[in-house]
């Protein structure tokens, strides 16, 4: 007799537990307002990444097309993956002395792990993280970027 009552209590306990699960899914079925997924390409206009989002490494330029990078190479040394290459040039400044300026600040996005050491260690705050995240390209070479814009120069106040 005991086993029979156990059989039925097991049966009803089982069915009620199944019903509990079905209630959860059923609740979501009848309340479609609960949809949480983002409609990504459609919401591009409203999609704003957090200001700290590490999308890529950029070199901010001001309105005079000037940046703050002195070409010291600290970011290159600190990068664990060798994703930064700096090609410097020596040009005579106003006094006629040769002075180091960057020719190209090359950033290999494909090798970058976004550890943030370059941005953190830059002594002149020349690097920053950009919010761009759509990096998919068909050609891998397009992921190698030159961060300083053509014709840009060093900011005066950063020169000291």
């Amino acid at each position: 007799m005991n086993s029979i009552s156990k059989y039925f209590s097991d049966l009803f306990r089982g069915i009620s537990s199944l019903w509990a699960g079905m209630r959860v899914t059923g609740k979501y079925f009848i309340s479609p307002g609960q949809i949480v997924t983002q409609q990504y390409p459609e919401n591009r206009a409203t999609l704003k990444m957090e200001p700290r989002f590490k999308g890529e490494i950029i070199m901010p330029h001001d309105e005079n097309n000037q940046h703050a990078c002195t070409g010291c190479g600290i970011c290159e040394i600190n990068c664990p993956n060798g994703s930064i290459e700096i090609i410097t040039d020596r040009v005579p400044n106003v006094d006629g002395k040769p002075e180091r300026v960057i020719d190209k600040h090359i950033f290999h996005l494909s090798m970058c792990t976004f550890c943030g050491l370059c941005v953190k260690t830059c002594p002149s705050d020349a690097l920053a993280f950009g919010q761009e995240f759509e990096h998919a390209v068909f050609d891998r070479h397009k992921l190698t970027k030159v961060l300083n814009q053509p014709g840009s120069s060093l900011k005066k106040e950063a020169k000291k």
Binding site: L11, M22, T25, Y28, F29, P32, I35, V36, T37, Q39
Partner: protein
């Protein structure tokens, strides 16, 4: 019978008469067969596409997602795009597979479901074959599909496939019993095996309401057992993707895979249609005893709407199962059948026989 307005038998009868007046009787039958075949093929394809779409939308809403929404309005063309993709995909030949069996397995599965469809009464006067043993025929034919699954699993020469097929074999052979017994309950109530006869017997109320608790129990058993029989929901052990990657159809690709996929959904429809017909009155509108006014109002809703509404309700419940429950293990699956469902349905059928004997049902 008051529901004369939406009777399809006048339409089909007039087509039959017209064909007979144009050509010899033999040719008329032949052309009718061709017409029905073409209609069925179209219906089959459209139904498959729609059910896949429906499943995706249902599971998406349950999972707080949107579901397909890229191709066409609300993603309506998504399944068609998938179909085109599957049609154009390469059929990967499997080395060391048994090529003949590998080739015919999907056809066996799909033909089985096709044949079962023939006996489904879609609306008043709209069915292909009205057997006097309709219930028996549908059950017999729909269980042929397991042969296809077994052949598919064995012939692909893959270990996953073989395990999946063996599981499927054990599962379907067991659950066939419960499906049969639960349908038998209504056969005992209505006293006929003909599907149209069963529907007619529900003119004053559906069996699930008329048949007291035993009919309801039979309905629940039918739902569970038929979900298992079509390899779906918590019983999809034959293709348990976390264990066997894809089970019996691991090695299939392209349109052959699509056949399995389609057959699974069509089987779901057939099972739901059978359940709706036997337990929920098929195309019969919702009638209550002798409330003439209420019954008249209900009759204004076409019978085909009634049929599809009930069928899709059961389809939704089966989908609801699938997207809620974890999968059973093979031994638990068989325990459920042999220790719970089968004894319950046996006791149930005894009860029903007693009820019918005492004329306690309505």
């Amino acid at each position: 019978m008051s529901s004369k307005i939406y009777d399809f038998s006048t339409l089909t009868g007039s087509i039959d008469a017209a064909l007979n007046s144009w050509m010899s009787p033999g040719l008329a039958v032949l052309s009718e067969m061709v017409i029905i075949g073409l209609l069925f093929l179209t219906f089959y394809a459209l139904l498959g596409l729609f059910l896949v779409y429906l499943e995706r939308k249902v599971c998406a809403v349950i999972q707080n997602r949107v579901g397909p929404n890229r191709v066409g309005k609300w993603g309506l063309l998504q399944t068609i795009a998938d179909l085109i993709k599957l049609l154009m995909k390469e059929l990967i030949p499997i080395r060391k597979a048994d090529h003949l069996l590998f080739l015919i397995a999907p056809f066996i599965v799909i033909i089985a479901s096709f044949m079962a469809m023939g006996a489904v009464p879609f609306a008043k006067g709209l069915h292909v074959l009205d057997f006097n043993i309709g219930v028996f025929y549908v059950m017999a034919v729909s269980s042929l599909g397991v042969v296809g699954i077994l052949i598919a699993g064995w012939s692909s020469n893959s270990k996953y496939s073989l395990i999946g097929a063996m599981r499927s074999g054990a599962q379907i052979v067991s659950y066939e019993l419960s499906v049969g017994l639960s349908l038998m309950a209504i056969v005992v109530f209505s006293g006929t095996m003909s599907l149209s006869g069963i529907i007619e017997s529900q003119a004053d109320g559906w069996w699930i309401f008329k048949g007291h608790i035993p009919a309801f129990v039979a309905f629940i058993v039918f739902l569970i057992a038929s979900t298992a029989e079509i390899n779906r929901g918590p019983f999809d052990l034959a293709e348990a993707e976390s264990e066997l990657t894809a089970g019996f159809h691991t090695e299939y690709s392209g349109i052959k895979f699509a056949f399995f996929f389609l057959a699974e959904y069509i089987n779901m429809f057939i099972v739901a249609a059978l359940g709706a017909t036997v337990f929920l009155g098929g195309w019969m509108p919702f009638h209550i005893g002798n409330w003439e006014g209420f019954n008249q109002v209900m009759d204004y809703i076409p019978s085909i709407v009634w049929f599809f509404a009930k069928t899709f309700f059961i389809i939704y419940v089966i989908m609801w199962f699938k997207w809620t429950f974890p999968r059973l293990r093979i031994d638990q699956l068989l325990t459920l059948e042999w220790k719970f469902l089968l004894p319950i349905s046996m006791v149930n059928i005894l009860l029903i026989a007693f009820l019918v004997m005492m004329h306690w049902h309505f």
